[in-house]
Symmetry: none
Subunit: 199 residues, 4 copies
Amino acid sequence: MNETKEKILLKALQYFTENDYEGASLNKIARSIGITKGGIYHYFASKDELFHDCLVFMFTAIQDISMAMVSEDMTIKEFVRGLFSFEDLFKALAAMFNINLLNDYFNFAYLMFAGIKKFPDLKLMIGNIYTFLINELEKALLRYQQRGEVNKILDCNALAFELGAMMEGAMLVAGLDKDFDLKILGNTMAENVLIMVKA
Amino acid sequence: MNETKEKILLKALQYFTENDYEGASLNKIARSIGITKGGIYHYFASKDELFHDCLVFMFTAIQDISMAMVSEDMTIKEFVRGLFSFEDLFKALAAMFNINLLNDYFNFAYLMFAGIKKFPDLKLMIGNIYTFLINELEKALLRYQQRGEVNKILDCNALAFELGAMMEGAMLVAGLDKDFDLKILGNTMAENVLIMVKA
Amino acid sequence: MNETKEKILLKALQYFTENDYEGASLNKIARSIGITKGGIYHYFASKDELFHDCLVFMFTAIQDISMAMVSEDMTIKEFVRGLFSFEDLFKALAAMFNINLLNDYFNFAYLMFAGIKKFPDLKLMIGNIYTFLINELEKALLRYQQRGEVNKILDCNALAFELGAMMEGAMLVAGLDKDFDLKILGNTMAENVLIMVKA
Amino acid sequence: MNETKEKILLKALQYFTENDYEGASLNKIARSIGITKGGIYHYFASKDELFHDCLVFMFTAIQDISMAMVSEDMTIKEFVRGLFSFEDLFKALAAMFNINLLNDYFNFAYLMFAGIKKFPDLKLMIGNIYTFLINELEKALLRYQQRGEVNKILDCNALAFELGAMMEGAMLVAGLDKDFDLKILGNTMAENVLIMVKA
DNA sequence: GATGAATGAGCATTCATTCAT
DNA sequence: TATGAATGAATGCTCATTCAT
């Protein structure tokens, strides 16, 4: 991708994250990377298109990270601990964009909502990411259940959703209330889960 | 509270929910309740203040509902099932404002996010709600644990956080991906939790 | 009508006449009457609406003048000479708007074209003015023909159109080429016509 | 003329006719002939110059057609009927440019007006065409008058202007009001004129 | 208490124009 | 010859805000 285009995309993503769609003005985005507003229109037909492309850019990366998270040859301990090692996840994402998700998960979620409101294709994309992840979770849980490592009474479909929701919710709540520190809580959460699902 | 002021507040809340902060213009809000834009400025110093007051109004109600959710004389089954009866929660909220949350939870959450982004005191307020709720959860879990109804190995502090996060995350994920229907999932989730925490 | 609104309308009409639709900027119009651009939007919902209202304002006046031009109790000499007394017509119009049609008939015609391109209702309105005038011309000519003052061989329908076209064309050509002075030519033209239509 | 330059000129003329001066962007013109906007600037110093050259190209053709219309060895009938055979005139013009004037005379006239407004030299050019044509008309009428085919009382100078104005006005009015169909009216107009000028 | 006129700063967007390559 | 990146000024439009009435 063209260098200027990429610069626009990254800076715009930052502005959109910090200020929302309406609050991010093309003028400010342009000035902050040393070009003029008109220059943006060389690469993006409209603010909407820029916003859309920013989100696709971000969600694609997240999709890739997400898919890399699941692997068939993990023990259940590795698997569950991996789910709750928030720090690793945050670092991976922070490296890609200039966003500190630990503090800004909140902005990130807000951005997802905004994207979904505006673009049906993003709704699909995000939906697919969650569906994929939770399906993979379910498949893994079923594997462990068959091996006798997960309580046979548990509904793995709902359990997969519960674990996914727990992860998302943890990041959201921790973002809103600094009393909760995921770096510390993460470990205990994983151990709790390992105890709870045990056969 | 003055009758006109209350009319403004309620109508504004509706507009904000339907159109977001930027999309809800004072002119439209004013016209829709039969006054003029200038009239709003008698009761609210700025659009920001109006928005803020709308959200405080809303969050206060949520706080009240949340606090009513916890009660000391519940069995563990009632307690857990209550946590995951999303439909009841939505209905309670919908009754307070004139918003159909079942369909519009998405807009509602979006609005909350916008408010939290804009006003630090609201972030604090929401943070406090979470802290309170999770603390109450922890106290309840400890009670059940002492009665032998919750596995003694489990860390109740982390477990409280996990259940709170699971609730929030469930609403978030279900808002993003309509494949997940909380009305159906809610029951199974509760049963799973009851199995998992059992001693 | 509100005083400011009328000031906007008149000044806008002048700008539209001099600079066309695209060339007339709301900013300049506003500044030239001592208000700001935003102020125009109090009275007109859009530039299009302002343009439309300007044209309706003008064409309504022209319609009134046109209709006053035809009167049943004229001799044929009065009638024909009236048609070619351009000076009187120009003065009447110039008094209403600030436009010197003698020099600017051209701009005026251009404005009509622009209006017709943009607004179907104006196309109808202008069409009706011409249709009305030429119909009235035809009725008058038929009256004179029955009295034996107009050659019975002539087709009064076409003749009415010819006289109407001659008037319009005279103003157009004289506007384009200063060699032709309607103040002088007008009289001779009328006398020529009187000779030509005579029985 | 350079081939690319001619392609630009012709395509630009088409765009200007279809979209007016303001509506025809250099980008669209350029793209439609497979070059880039910058390329146009090799051949034309500015959009204005391009527009001007388009119109000169067009007016030159009109001038040629006009001059070919007058010929010394015509009978008066041929002469007058030629003046009012609008269809032939339109066809001749349409053949020169790629414009269907029969349907698009309106846009064509609008473009002429825009050009005349913008460039004084074009106003002069058109003025000269009119002067030339009306002078030729006058010379022809004087010839017919001397032969006794035109009423000796008529002022041929004014009559020439009247016939020229009638032609122009007919096209203008017919352009504004589609009730008047020149294809039909043209014949009757010519016959009326032949009757009226007769000695 | 409330109106309505008016402001002014902001926004997305367009586009002729320039110029290094 | 021609490209394509970039500019910058302009445009229509929106809207929170002010204030005399």
